[in-house]
Subunit: 308 residues, 2 copies
């Protein structure tokens, strides 16, 4: 029997996971407005930026300027990505209340991406976790490549479970399972999630799908059946490589909200406002929304949710 959650917490990652892939620089004021609009649309968590070195990701090099300028809305969380202790110290200085750390379920991917083994990546986070605890900062963990790795191919569900459990043991309050390259399909997603849920309680798990092969919503639907109740998504599907090879990025928040609300699963999101935000940021970036909902007029897009 399907075990759908009654409500889902959406974690909006567009301002970070989305904008970090943009070829052209985005003004800090535009990023700030995006974050304000997303919180205003009812998203309970808006990942704001990353305190990765500007040398690695110049797109988010304004994190120290951006973050303190955000008018934080009561009840909304604004995590930021931190890759190491240096980033953590800058994030603390900027006044963050939540951070996210990241590793992968693939040794090869970690080696190429951060030049560390999985174990080494976790060691690097030990001082980060300690400082977080001292400052009362919540820590979210990301595991990437949970359904496949561009270098290794298949990733064992057990490997995902192990690294997820370690992140929880180190003090993360939640682990987000990322299909970074969008290679997963529904049954594999369920198998992976079920394996992780043997080691980490389902209510501490989030799913994070990229739509590279169009499978993201189907994978989310399959995982909802197992009871997962936290879903990462990116407004307007930000996060693709529009200038590279047309590959899609994160699943689009507005398409996820349409599915969830259509299934009677509450998100707390005002879809009209979210749609307007998707259209607006896409205009700012000079392109069409990568979402389906964002490409049709809002009244038409959301009308079916009102049909009884």
């Amino acid at each position: 029997m399907a075990n759908y959650p009654q409500s889902v917490k959406l974690v909006e990652v567009g301002p970070r996971d989305g904008l970090q892939n943009e070829a052209e620089p985005i003004p800090t004021a535009t990023k700030r407005e995006l974050i304000h609009r997303l919180a205003g649309a009812g998203l309970p968590v808006v990942e704001a930026t990353s305190f990765v070195s500007p040398k690695w990701i110049p797109q988010l090099g304004d994190a120290a300027e951006l973050f303190p300028s955000i008018e934080r809305k009561a009840g909304v969380h604004y995590p930021v990505l931190v890759p190491n202790m240096k980033g953590m110290e800058r994030a603390v200085e900027a006044g963050v209340e939540e951070v996210a750390v990241f590793t992968a379920a693939s040794e090869s991917f970690n080696k190429k991406n951060i030049n560390a083994s999985i174990a080494e990546s976790l060691e690097r986070f030990e001082p980060v976790m300690a400082l977080a605890q001292e400052k009362g900062i919540r820590v979210r963990g990301y595991v990437s490549c949970v359904l496949g790795c561009p270098y290794e191919g298949h990733i064992k569900p057990q490997a995902v479970a192990e690294v997820s459990e370690k992140l929880m043991e180190m003090g993360c309050y939640e682990v987000s399972l990322g299909d970074t390259i969008g290679s997963g399909t529904p049954l594999k997603a369920q198998t992976m999630l079920a394996a992780v849920a043997q080691r980490v309680a389902m209510d501490r798990l989030a799913i994070h799908f990229h739509d590279t092969r169009g499978q993201a919503l189907a994978n989310i639907q399959a995982c909802l059946e197992l009871g997962v109740a936290t879903v990462d998504a990116s407004v307007a599907g930000l996060g693709g490589c529009p200038y590279a090879d047309g590959a899609s990025g994160n699943v689009a928040t507005e398409d996820v909200v349409f599915m969830l609300e259509g299934m009677g699963i509450n998100t707390g999101v005002d879809l009209e406002k979210l749609h307007a935000t998707a259209v607006w940021i896409s205009q700012e970036l000079g392109r069409e929304p990568a979402s389906k909902l964002g490409r049709i007029p809002v009244e038409k897009a959301i009308a079916p949710l009102g049909w009884k």
Copy 2:
């Protein structure tokens, strides 16, 4: 418990449901090549064209010229749409072995689309069915608006079940349930399909989703759980209104094949050839494929299916 089929029969509708929406005329030779390529990629059913009046759908006005020129591959079916006896007679003359008739589960939609009630639309098909039986021609039935109507909104699953049962009683061998406007979400799709399956055996039902709101693959995944084993799809996602408002059309065959094969459900389709066909027809039409798979290089697109 999910009741997934071991294999799925894909019904390729791109040459008809897709190309009928094109603003610019497509050369007959291009249509023929598309049909040949699709059959060559292993699609078991390729809906070839429509014998609707050229006044209504000039895009397919060359049906009588196109159909006899198709080199039919053994084992492949090439149904054509017929709206009435006139179309049926033209189709018979062209040498068809299978036709498809269509009505809707919505009275208002039928009134606007074909100026007939549901009952009247079925009456119009009586002589068509009689001629089909006389000539040994198979008849497929389409029901549109099964998950919503642009004029009426919600459509009762019972209404879909009733019209589907009538089409079977009239002699159709299969009924395709169409979410014409892409308004459905997974649980509603399951509820509708389950209601129809009370009246028509599941192995006589097909599902036909449009991706207007990005829900098509999630809806298909949800319906597969109930055991449906025939899925309509359109190569490169042909069938949108690229020149109108950017709305997506049919779900893309290559994205469906990726999902099915990734779930271990056999389709018999050569995804490499299908991908090449999607890229080729999109080039012919002067635009990007509307599929996700078609936008990334083929090796990258299909690699995950080989991962063990």
